[in-house]
């Protein structure tokens, strides 16, 4: 396992796609559906309030809520569809996320579950003193009829301070949104079909194989 704990740049933040600063986001996240004058989620607003960025995405997955919740709650499963997460080790009430960083390095982030309701939601936040502050939240609600479950992933991140940090952030901060979207779609495919769709003709041409090669 390659590891570089000194890597504190936004680049590594981006690998995770959910670095945030400050407790303010907690309230922000929990009020995400009451963000403005209408009923749309706050991350769909044309100019989200505050100077932080918010990533949010919902997919409907044709599987029961309990099945999706328990798959997600077993954090060790997440790297199967989260492309930039190499491994998640659970150690008691915390979990260590090994995040791929640019240049073939990786960075460890320790998280603790900050809120959870069985079959409804899981929220996590990096522990105090972690190199990176991150938080995320996934919610599971029943879709109408037999359409399955609506899964909403919300992550907030704050451009890190300092001129260099901001410059780097500019380079990378478009990525988390794309990453979250792709990760959620892969989660959906894995749950609905049992596999992650690939159009490759050969095993060594899959996205996963190419990334390991480049990593």
């Amino acid at each position: 396992m390659r590891s570089n704990r000194d890597l504190k740049t936004p680049a590594s933040v981006v690998g995770l796609g959910l670095a945030i600063g400050g407790i303010a986001f907690g309230t922000f996240l929990s009020r995400r559906r009451k963000g403005g004058a209408d009923d749309a989620p706050v991350y769909a607003r044309k100019s989200p309030p505050g100077d932080h960025s918010l990533v949010g995405r919902t997919v409907t997955i044709r599987k029961p809520r309990a099945e999706l919740y328990s798959f997600w709650r077993n954090f060790g499963n997440l790297p199967q569809f989260m492309e930039n997460v190499e491994e998640i080790r659970e150690n008691g009430d915390t979990a260590t996320w090994v995040i791929k960083a640019p240049g073939g390095a990786s960075v460890d982030v320790e998280t603790r579950v900050s809120d959870e309701r069985e079959n409804e939601l899981i929220a996590w936040r990096s522990t105090d003193g972690s190199d990176i502050t991150t938080s995320g939240r996934v919610e599971f609600t029943d879709a109408p009829g037999d359409r399955g479950t609506r899964v909403s992933l919300i992550m907030a991140y704050d451009p890190p301070g300092g001129a260099a940090g901001r410059a780097l952030a500019k380079l990378f901060l478009r990525e988390p949104q794309v990453q979250a979207r792709h990760d959620l779609k892969r989660f959906k495919a894995l749950m609905e079909t049992g596999e992650i769709t690939t159009s490759a003709r050969r095993r060594d041409q899959t996205r996963e194989a190419k990334q390991q090669e480049n990593g």
Binding site: T60, T193, E195, T197, S199, R201, R202, R207
Partner: protein, 396 residues
């Protein structure tokens, strides 16, 4: 290594040696191709009007063959003969469950969905050999192909039906059938079909099987009009006849009840707006030529139905939106939900209700595929449908 037809640019396709496909996921199967056809929609790729095709891409989405390898969760067995739908469908998502297979949410890989989602508001499903908008899958104009979700798509065909009879289940037969179904044909209806290519011809045949009292086929190639006539249609040559006036007269002054546009984005025609559209397409500001569709919308009677099996990829100019609204028309279109029709259509082939071989004009070795594209493109009167056979020897 295997031989395959690869795309290299506008009017540049080549048969080359490429890597064999492999089983990657557990529901995959590998099919050894015995027959594969060039589709009219492949000509849109050949003409370079579909975005997202990359040099080296293996084309082909009409194919059948023998199962030679299966993943552990495939329901196919080695040695079975199968026809493979051009639409890739996972079978597990909402759209597959309601039989809208060509809107499958999972068959286009997550990281490939962004381009079509940006263009159309939603990602397209995966299709074989039809650009990276639809997943970037290697197609079937090759010796072998990897078929994902092989437990959902392919249909096993009985040995006594030769390839030529069942090959078109992969696309054009269900596409023509769905084109007619989308026209909601009632007995006593007069139906007009623009385009006597394979899809138009199958739409003519389907409309007749569905009980239309009169089907009028419109084209300008004498040989293609003759094939439509052979299927039971009346015909109009748009180069010689004023189509709208003729359709009014042939429907007793009412207008046709339903219209089917089996032409799509590269319509022929010499009207000024069409020539402007051609010019725009050529210089890359990409307006779809929609001459046939515009004419169809004006020709259909008020309250009538407009069905569009023809392929469009982008925007079109001067669309008669007013006619659509003021006449209260219904429009239905879409990539074909192939898997929805396979069983019924196979039965109709077996009992002789549908003739699937009459339009095949040429059978070529796969090795000769580039010539097949050129002739199918340049000599549309005589080259009505090209079937490629990997096992066939090149003529000396």
């Amino acid at each position: 290594m295997m031989r395959a037809l690869t795309w290299h640019g506008t009017h540049d396709v080549r048969v080359e040696t490429v890597d064999d496909p492999e089983i990657i996921n557990s529901r995959d199967a590998i099919i050894k191709i015995t027959s594969t056809a060039i589709c009219g929609s492949d000509l849109h790729l050949y003409d370079g009007v579909i975005p997202g095709v990359m040099p080296g891409d293996v084309l082909g989405h009409e194919f059948m063959g023998e199962v030679v390898e299966t993943g552990k969760d495939s329901t196919l067995k080695k040695g079975q003969r199968v026809v493979v739908p051009f639409t890739i469908s996972c079978g597990g998502c909402f759209h597959c469950k309601i039989q809208q297979f060509s809107a499958c949410e999972n068959s286009n890989p997550a990281e490939k969905q962004d381009m079509s989602a940006t263009l159309y508001g939603h990602p397209m499903a995966g299709l074989f050999g039809y650009s990276h908008l639809t997943g970037g899958y290697s197609g079937g104009q090759a010796e072998y192909v990897r078929v994902p979700y092989s437990d959902v798509g392919p249909i096993v065909v009985p040995d006594h039906l030769e390839d030529d009879k069942v090959l078109f289940l992969s696309d054009i037969l269900p596409t023509g059938w769905m084109g007619a179904e989308n026209a909601e044909i009632q007995p006593d209806d007069t139906v007009a079909v623009w385009g006597c290519g394979p899809v138009g011809l199958f739409a003519v045949q389907s409309a007749i099987v569905m009980g239309a009292s009169k089907v009028i086929a419109i084209d300008h190639y004498p040989n293609r009009l003759a094939l439509a006539k052979q299927m039971g249609a009346e015909t109009i040559d748009f180069r010689k006849t004023d189509v709208r006036e003729a359709l009014m007269e042939m429907s007793g002054g009412i207008g046709v009840d339903a219209v089917i546009d089996a032409v799509g984005m590269e319509a022929h025609g010499f009207a000024a707006d069409n020539m402007i559209d051609i010019a725009k397409q050529k210089i890359g500001i990409g307006a779809d030529r929609a001459k046939a569709l515009k004419q169809a919308i004006l020709a259909v009677r008020p309250g009538g139905r407009v069905s569009i099996p023809g392929v469009y990829g982008g925007m079109t100019d001067k669309f008669p939106l007013g006619a659509l609204m003021e006449k209260g028309l219904q429009v239905r279109t879409g990539q074909t939900h192939v898997q929805r029709y396979l069983k019924d259509l196979l039965e109709k082939i077996e009992d002789g209700t549908l003739d699937t071989t009459f339009m095949i004009s040429h059978r070529l070795p796969l090795e000769d595929a580039a010539r097949g594209y050129k002739c199918f493109h340049d000599e549309q009167n005589d080259w009505t449908k090209v079937v490629l056979k990997p096992d066939m020897e090149m003529a000396k």
